[in-house]
């Protein structure tokens, strides 16, 4: 004959959690199989005895109070017994992590037979949940410290680097503090403006074209740009502009980083300037010449010219009036040449009393015309004591297959002819 | 017989009035939704019995009770409240209430209350 108690025990033993029946004095009236297995205490051993004899470390004042509450309210009481002395300790068998060595238990006390003040205490293993919680807390700490590092880095970047973010239409979205304070605008003035508004566009035509080409190809562009601040000050900057693409490979934004190279430029200028005349020196001239040859596709009707010129009788001036006067002549000639050449022409001191000019966008007629203009300008110059000064000019124009050497050779030949023919004249020599 | 029923809840008033009418069908009912209106009505209408809630806006039951007892020290005030703490009961009786009854008041409880009042 199976009586009610046996039925109860069958049910208890089949439960997946620990279940015991205790009264308000903590005398144990049932102890299920789960508990037997996980505590190594058999039900025969504990039934009828007090829980305190087996687990003296539990805080019974609190536990009994919870039992009383359950009975009084006729409602379950829940609590988390993760820490020792809250409830019984059950060892945890997990080996692969050492985070928690005893089971984290969720305890539920439910009214059982209130008339005899008995309650059912069931314990649920929530160790995995706790493990996740602990891991999560750990990760959150790591994230918080990373974030704080990132924030510091961001502050440093913001204060020291001039960076601009624009949309795909080059309208400014964000700027760093360094950028706004350098240019003298506040963020509100910049946001919504176009990035091109800070450039000195007339000195940067080639750069701007190149920039557009490269960016349209969705590539990074770097080069030198000249910008203008709110105060009107113009500055040379190194710029690196990178497009950002989305998943469809469309441009979503641009990021531009600028670096003030005023000092760099000054040094550069020193290295490309002839100290006496302040014109470009030969080195610079050669570089520009190189670029000119490589960069553009010159045609017959649209070519570039090279003028080689030489101050007439310069040695005599030096010998007669001294080197200081000789220098004064050269300075005066440089000045007049510089004033007379067209914007875009590249004038340099080749050496001694020799000067060179590169003339972009000319044909042979135009080149000769410019040379003649220069000759007349020099002729009109007069230096105190020395008197009139003249110069001889050799002109040539680029033709397909030309190199620096071949062009220099030709214009040199033209110059020689000019000297031969009596000086103070221009001579052209074309292919 | 005039009876003043004071409670900010319409349901509470209706429920109380229903059980009251079961035993005193001829009673003339006056209603107030806060202590302030209750005191005004008490002054102007002089009801025999006041059923008074404690937790109300504008003026709570404790204040209203004090004022009513000042107006008429013989007033019969029955405090009907959700607050069933012993301390509340002691406070209310000390202020002069005749009885304190926990909510909700049903027909049987109402009978017991009416039996303890003087008409």
């Amino acid at each position: 004959m199976i009586n009610t108690m046996d039925y109860c025990n069958i049910v208890f033993d089949s439960l997946e959690n620990g279940t015991m029946i205790v009264d308000e004095n903590c005398t144990v009236w049932a102890w299920n199989k789960w508990l037997e297995i996980n505590t190594a205490i058999t039900s025969e051993h504990i039934i009828g005895k007090n829980l305190e004899d087996f687990y003296p470390e539990i805080d019974y004042k609190g536990f009994k109070r919870k039992i009383r509450t359950t009975l009084r309210l006729n409602s379950p009481t829940f609590y988390d017994a993760s820490l020792s002395n809250r409830f019984i300790t059950v060892p945890r068998n997990k080996i692969t992590t050492s985070l928690l060595t005893t089971m984290q238990l969720q305890v539920t006390i439910s009214p059982y037979i209130p008339e005899v003040k008995r309650v059912m205490v069931s314990i649920q293993d929530i160790s995995d949940l706790h493990e996740l919680k602990l891991t999560l807390q750990q990760r959150m700490k790591e994230i918080a410290s990373l974030n704080s590092e990132l924030r510091q880095d961001k502050q440093i970047i913001d204060a020291n680097l001039m960076i601009v973010k624009t949309d795909c239409g080059c309208m400014i979205l964000e700027v760093t503090d360094a950028f706004s304070s350098f240019f003298g605008y506040n963020e509100a003035e910049l946001r919504g403006a176009f990035l091109s508004s800070i450039y000195v566009t007339d000195t940067m035509e080639t750069e701007l074209l190149q920039m557009k080409e490269t960016l349209q190809k969705k590539q990074k562009w770097s080069g030198e740009v000249q910008v203008v601040t709110k105060e009107g000050e113009t500055v040379w900057m190194d710029a690196v502009i990178s497009p950002y693409l989305d998943e469809q490979d469309d441009i979503t934004s641009y990021t531009a980083i600028y670096h003030d190279i005023t000092d760099k430029k000054r040094i550069e200028l020193l290295s490309v300037t002839d100290p006496l005349t302040k014109l470009y020196n030969r080195q610079k001239f050669n570089d520009v010449f190189d670029v000119m040859l490589m960069r553009r596709h010159w045609k017959e009707g649209n070519s570039f010219g090279l003028i080689l010129m030489d101050v007439d009788h310069f040695k005599k001036v030096n010998d007669t009036y001294g080197h200081q006067k000789g220098d004064a002549v050269l300075i005066a000639v440089s000045d007049i040449l510089a004033q007379t050449v067209r914007t875009g022409d590249v004038l340099a001191r080749w050496g001694g009393e020799e000067f060179v000019v590169l003339l972009p966008d000319v044909d042979s007629e135009k080149a000769a015309y410019v040379a003649e203009k220069l000759r007349r300008a020099v002729e009109g110059t007069s230096i105190s004591e020395v008197g009139a000064v003249t110069a001889s000019f050799g002109v040539t124009v680029y033709a397909e297959g030309d190199t620096q050497e071949s062009m220099m050779h030709r214009s040199d030949g033209a110059l020689y002819r000019a000297k031969e023919k009596g000086r103070n004249r221009i001579e052209s020599l074309l292919v | 017989m005039k009876v003043l029923v004071v409670d900010d809840s319409k349901l509470a008033r209706l429920s109380l009035i229903k059980s009251l009418k079961e035993h005193e069908p001829s009673a003339e009912i006056l209603e107030a939704e806060n202590g302030e209106i209750a005191v005004e009505l008490f002054k102007s209408e002089n009801p025999r019995v006041v059923f008074l809630d404690l937790t109300m806006p504008v003026m709570d039951g404790f204040e209203a009770l004090k004022l009513i007892m000042q107006i008429d020290p013989k007033a019969q005030v029955v405090v009907v409240s959700a607050d069933i703490q012993t301390h509340a009961q002691q406070q209310v009786l000390a202020l002069g209430a005749k009885l304190m009854v926990p909510k909700p008041i049903n027909s049987d409880k109402m009978l017991g209350v009416l039996q303890q009042l003087v008409f």
């Binding site: 609190g62 109070r65 919870k66 509450t69 009084r72 309210l73 006729n74 409602s75 379950p76 009481t77 829940f78 609590y79 988390d80 993760s82 820490l83 809250r86 969720q106 539920t108 | 900010d8 809840s9 319409k10 349901l11 509470a12 209706l14 429920s15 229903k18 404690l54 937790t55 109300m56 806006p57 409240s81 959700a82 607050d83 069933i84 703490q85 301390h87 509340a88 926990p102 909510k103 909700p104």
Partner: protein, 205 residues
């Protein structure tokens, strides 16, 4: 479900029932703490998630830390029970229940859970009793968090209709207080409305 199916009358009934239930709970806690609790008028509203967030922000200052216990309850009247207690109140509670000058974090946590247990079971049992229905309690969880973490930040779900029942539990002498929020939503509001209708029928019978 139309919002006006849950009328002013329905809200009034719910408010009064909450009042009664809170009265029971206050008496229970008063016994536990051997103190006198001040009753407050419960606040009821029907709103959506934005409204709930706004109400929470107004009631609970976001920059402080709180012990927040959340417990789900089920049945014909089902929803979420939330109890929010300041750090200071929790320490006072821990001090009182555990009878030590400096209760440990675990003691405090335990005390908060115990108090919330009493509050939720008394209030919800009484409410369900008055509505002639049964309630099922689920395991509560308690966390220490700041005020702006009370409601999750995921934008995906917006419950259109939420009933908010809220009140304050206050035991001035012991400096122990806390905010109670009982929330129920959408389909639950329909079944709650029907339970209240039955209650009103009893009244008008």
């Amino acid at each position: 479900m139309q919002i006006d199916e849950f009328s002013e009358d329905h809200l009034d009934v719910l408010k009064e029932l909450m009042n009664i239930a809170m009265g029971n709970a206050t008496a229970s806690i008063a016994d536990l703490l051997q103190a006198f609790g001040t009753m407050h008028i419960p606040h009821l509203a029907i709103s959506d998630m934005d409204g709930l967030k706004a109400y929470m922000e107004k009631t609970i200052p976001s920059d402080e830390k709180y012990y927040v216990t959340k417990q789900l309850f089920g049945g014909m009247f089902g929803g979420e029970f939330i109890f929010v207690m300041t750090d200071e109140s929790a320490v006072n509670l821990g001090h009182y229940l555990y009878d030590v000058t400096a209760p440990s974090d675990a003691d405090i946590m335990d005390a908060v859970i115990e108090l919330t247990n009493i509050l939720s079971s008394t209030i919800l049992s009484r409410l369900s009793e008055e509505l002639n229905t049964k309630v099922q309690f689920f395991v509560p969880s308690t966390e220490l968090m700041s005020g702006n973490e009370l409601i999750g930040h995921d934008e995906t779900l917006n419950y259109h209709r939420i009933i908010i029942i809220s009140t304050l539990m206050e035991f001035q002498s012991h400096k122990i207080s806390g905010h109670i929020f009982i929330l129920t939503k959408d389909k639950m509001i329909e079944s709650l409305s029907r339970l209240i209708d039955q209650k009103l029928e009893e009244l008008y019978a």
